[in-house]
Symmetry: none
Subunit: 182 residues, 2 copies
DNA sequence: CGCCAGCGTTCAGTATTTTCAACAGCCTGA
DNA sequence: TCAGGCTGTTGAAAATACTGAACGCTGGCG
């Protein structure tokens, strides 16, 4: 049960710095640092505050399927994926939540009216995906695309982008992002 | 998220005093007392030590389905059970984990086609049970329930009650009695 | 190149938690 | 009734966690 590495893994998956997370959580960056280095064992209330900045519950935090020093697992069954859902969008991460992974490979489900947000995402790296089910609207830069089942995309993440499902059926998207922040 | 009440509920379900749990966990009884009174917010390592004396993992602890001020529920479906597994023995807690419940259930083999008798039982305390195999008829007060495999029950024993198996398959029941010493 | 803004780490001081020891209350048995 | 053993609680002292302000490092930009 390595609380420190666990926290760091999740923080990096969310693309947050120690200071950003600290500010959102209402603690100092020192606290985050020391927790991640396992130089302290945080109190329940502290850890709860920290996780509120992600956001994530204590149950979710301790339930994350994380392991050190295990022979690298190659094949993951459907029910072995790590749940990283945020908001209406269901996100399942392929592979363990590890601190320094290069790639975030996600199985995402967008229910009708689900939206990654009006503000356009823009971060380093590249990302690609393929729509498996339903239809989905993808905006990259000033271009707006409608993805049908089987369509796919690939672009550099510094371009502002947004996913939205204005249709009446849920859309299932398999996506990959490098590095592992989104 | 009431850590104190949650801990006290589980401790009492296990029939442990603060001092007994403290000794098993390698902490002092004061620690248990203060955690249960919510006068402190324990560190992860402390709580983990405390739970090791039960024993119980952090995931299990935070996953406990606990609620205050719930209207009395009589029948619980298979997926509503609280997992209290410890060691090799798998234990699922029937009913909400409430602070001062008087009950801990026993693993009891209920012979096929058995009947508790036509006269309705009514005694002090509380009781609960789960049907593992087959189907069973449960009468509580004037209500008659048909329990399917996986369904469970919880009620106060002063209500007259009766078990009956009018079906052609054997029914296996895991039942519990009051008080909470097991 | 210098400068700035961000990153994570470290240290001294403060705040919180844990221990140790004592306390009162409640039974039980002598 | 009193002693002994149990219960949970509470106080001061010791141990631990958290803050606030530094530090060195990195990468981008003028």
């Amino acid at each position: 049960m390595d609380v420190g590495v666990r926290l760091q893994s999740i923080r990096k998956l969310k693309g947050l710095s120690q200071r950003e997370l600290a500010k959102r959580a209402g603690v100092t960056n020192s606290t985050i640092s020391m927790i991640e280095k396992n130089s302290v064992s945080p109190s329940i209330s502290s850890l709860k505050k920290v996780l509120s900045g992600i956001p994530m519950t204590l149950v979710e935090f301790f339930s994350i399927d994380y392991e050190q020093d295990t022979p690298p697992q190659v094949v993951y069954r459907a029910d072995e994926l790590t749940d990283l859902s945020s908001g209406a969008v269901t996100m399942k991460l392929v592979g363990k939540a590890q601190p320094n992974r290069a790639l975030a490979f996600l199985d995402e489900t967008y229910p009708p009216d689900a939206d990654t947000g009006e503000e356009m995402y823009a971060h380093e790296g590249e990302e690609a995906g393929i729509l498996v089910e339903g239809r989905l609207e993808l905006t990259v830069g000033s271009e707006v695309y409608i993805l049908e089942a089987g369509d796919s995309y690939y672009f550099e993440s510094h371009q502002p982008h947004r996913f939205r499902n204005p249709f009446d059926k849920p859309a299932r998207l398999i996506s990959a992002t490098t590095p592992a922040n989104f």
